[in-house]
Amino acid sequence: MDFTRRDTLALGAGATAMALLPLSAFAQADPNAELVGAPDDFLAGADAAAGDLTLTAPEIAENGNTVPISVDAPGAVEVRVYALGNPTPGVATFRFGPLAGSQAASTRIRLAGTQDVQAIAKMADGSYQTAMKTVKVTIGGCGG
């Protein structure tokens, strides 16, 4: 397929327009928000203290589209990760099964801008632990 000069310019203009859309334009309800939810839903009034849970994230992420993070929560049954400044704060829920070699996992997440990333771990005894990390984002990862 051949692109004429005009086609190429039009494509470029469209892509730029999309990239420039402000974040505030995206206040849509997420149909699956309850899957991960907000930190308060998960805690349900319980207190979360700092503990063995570690959340590793870069201090500065140049590209908000792929920010590598990892959680390590010895003794946890479930770890949830929240990006508190995203349009929907829930990022992921990790549940560790009987054959998990360690209660640790790594993934890559999207961050809309500079914000706090929070991890909350539910321990085997029902208590909660939390860890927070601020990530500076140079280019947001929500199309903004």
Binding site: Q28, T93, F94, F96, A100, S106
Partner: protein
Amino acid sequence: MASGVKPRVKAPKKASAGEVVTIKTLISHKMESGQRKDSSGNVIPRSIINRFTCDFNGENVIDVVLAPAISTNPYFEFDATIPEAGDLKFTWYDDDGDVYEETKSVAVG
């Protein structure tokens, strides 16, 4: 999005009984967040992988719920205990109902 989805898994082919091995998985998927708009202002519908599980011989290793904030081409790295020889089964669940599966055999010796 059913086209171009390709799961890739890096797992050891051999382990000793009871060994903890590190597994890395990647699946190509655009993970459309449902937050973006196209050039004419219409919201691009959400299309993501919403769940990923890994089992070994039917016993669960990890079960992950994914939100739209997971990056394009979701990547996961985690540890699994290998008690005996068997198969690691990886399953990804797409918003559109598709299920992508991958199996890796692990020998013990």
